[in-house]
Amino acid sequence: MRLLPHTDADRAAMLAAIGVREIDDLFADVPEAARLKELPDLPRHASEIELERAMQRMADKNVAASSVPFFVGCGAYNHHVPATVDHLIQRSEFMTAYTPYQPEVAQGTLQYLFEFQTQVAMLTGMDVANASMYDGSTAASEAVLMAQRVTKRPKAVISTGLHPHYRAVIETFGHFSEHESVAVEDDEIAEALDDKTACVIVQTPDVFGRVHDLRKLADKVHEAGALLIVAVTEVLSLGALTPPGEMGADIVVAEGQSIGNGLNFGGPYLGLFATRQKYVRQMPGRLAGETTDEDGKRGFVLTLATREQHIRRDRATSNICTNSGLCALAFTIHLTLMGESGLRDLALANHRTAVALADDLAQVSGVKVLTDQFFNEFTIQVPGDGAQVIDKLADKGVLGGVPAARLWPDRPDLADRIIVAATETTTPEDRAAYVAALKEVLA
């Protein structure tokens, strides 16, 4: 078997060196009754050709984003990833490295994490960022827990503009950690603030695509002694929009998938987490920090580990002991390739393409574009059931967006809404195909 180095002669020699007769002598501690006598009822080992055929067969059943006009967003976006990025993250020394607990032999990982943290802080307009989290939604939930630790208050006020999956994650964590959460419309947030409120969490651009000026809200939240958490599910928007850090956010969480990472059916993704300097010791997740070695050379280490579970155990700030290392690497490589000018160009290309698409769709009879001010995603209203429209479009080879019913099956008032995204990968031909297919479907 190709993954196992031992020959039978090796095994025999090793058993002899150990001083046992057969391999099962080493499993003597396992209760006899629990030892499997036979192999599990699963196939035997396969050749690489057989494996590839099986995988290809399953993969071929799926409609890849790049193979059709594609307008699906809502927290995951179809962007182009330069070939350089995927090549570099597959470097053995990155991909097959361990968590950098032994910094002397992990400076590669630690330096890119330090660079990543700096880029994230710059992008969000915050002071510091951690070395990444599982994804945007879990980062959001950790942000709420952090606000509760900082303020020592139990309640989270959640904007209904927040992606419903994010809200569900916060509510699940809130429920089991015995905190409170309440979801309110944006214009009711001020009323919901009270002295039990730890934080307000809002999203911009929100799940419908709307961009928000958060400055006034920030003031109100701060007056109430709470923290403002801003979630961003399309991180690329930060290349074009005023960053949350400049609008008074105390914690910014984001989904970083759009930069350097593929769609991957929802994972692995990349949680970004940034905050103010004063909260750094309450921040969850790994942190790379600068220091020096015995020869005085600059080097990097994981730091502030005293917050973490492997030191602090039940008094840790979080139970997390993984980051999204390789996704963070993809992010930081892509962002390094782009730089300030490339990022701004890419963001603008996304926005302009979305504007053109909105104008195209607005021409389709019966369709109403509901979002005036947006980045690369907006909401349309169609006559009839949005989910059915999307299914019919899919039959015509156009993946036309996310019907609101996919996210809010319990909101009949949203049943005629579709959330539509465009990116730099959207061609004029893609837009024309959407318009044509939509006209046919609605005819």
């Binding site: 002397e104 330096q111 700096t118 690497l329 899919a394």
Partner: protein, 492 residues
Amino acid sequence: IEEPLIFETGAPDRSGVDITVPEGENRLGGLERRSEIGLPGLSEPETVRHYVRLSRNNYAIDTGIFPLGSCTMKHNPRANEKSARLPGFADIHPLQPQNTVPGAIELMETLSHWLLTLTGMEAVALSPKAGAHGELCGMMGIKAAHEASGENAQRRIVIVPDSAHGTNPATAALLGYEVRPVEVREDGTVSPDAVRAIVGPDTAAMMLTNPNTCGLFEPDIIEIAEILHEAGAYLYCDGANFNAIAAKVRPGDLGIDAMHLNLHKTFSTPHGGGGPGSGPVIFSKAIAPFAPLPRVVAGQDGAALAEFADDVPGEQPFGRLTAFHGQMGMFVRAMAYMMAQGADGMRQASEDAVLNANYIRARLRDVFSQPYGDRICMHEVLFDDHFLKDTGVTTLDLAKALIDEGFHPMTVYFPLVAHGAMLVEPTESESKHSLDQFIDAMRALAKAALAGETERFTEAPRFAPRRRLDEVKAARHPVLRWEPPQQAKAAE
């Protein structure tokens, strides 16, 4: 040549991408970004060289053995990477219509089937994003079961042995539980009597690692599970060490109620310098109805993804752990690994993993001390620093000296139950040749330590990209980001 930071060589008007920006108007609601971001740009050649050079400062499985106890670091087959990059897996969106992704759902269903067959359990939650996330998921399932039975208010205690991973108590605490430790007995395992002594109507669950963090199979686990179940509590098992027993022992036969599986350990998805991981959780019949969403369920036209409670009538899913459906990229890799190995290969792998650990034990036992005596171990072997007494060499020194010999250190000072612990897990990926090299280096170091060559240890590492780094300084005055020179100066 030292590799600078990107901020020290990049320029804002340099770029490694060419983007065509269409003409048109902006509708950003007056929220255009006006400030400089400050991001440096590098051309494509500079970028490639920067990251290639950085990478060369890393140790990795592909460059050598990781004898890291409790952190199974095995070979990552490249066929898995190739599969994960098929456009039909890598380039599909979690919210596109389900009938445009039947192959993806089929893969998740197949993975679920393999995991359940291997473990003999009832249900699986694929969505947890890592082992610790899986622990949360598993314990949430248990808490949800107590809530459903109305006993949640009274069950506030989670029993955790002092040999446990730090994530265990952290997880229990996060869910509002009080952590009650149980000491391990002299042989390094948990005694049923110790559990019996503290279990009660206030016990929600016990969290146990098996094989445990001393590398030993808990021989009384079935009895412990029975004690817990009789008391109305559940047994959570930390699955970090499943690599020792896959296809040899089924957790379902041991009385376990919930357990996470680290796809990035046991099933060989790459560690990636710290992630992304994936931590599916398997549940017993008692907990299964509370498993979170989304979940793969049998549908009329093949499998479907249940995303809302209405999709699983009669069950009480406890909520959602993350946006979307979990780590698809890891699912594909793990599935590719399992298919490549097959039932026979996984069983052989478990055997070889245990064989390798015992071979190291056998070849080091005359020099290195073992806290629980020289006895068979599972896939990892635990040494302590007893044999270093009075040498002036610490466990940490030995670890750093191992770097100078060309190896990644073993896990040190864990588990806490052993003094100056050194936990060594070679995995089945290592050849006898590789093990012999490692063993020879360990023996040579031990002899040097006993011979009083202290400097070789206290000065180590000398042949690494960096000498020992000042972690105290880093924590005391944290510098967590680069600052432009003038700002850095102003901040001082």
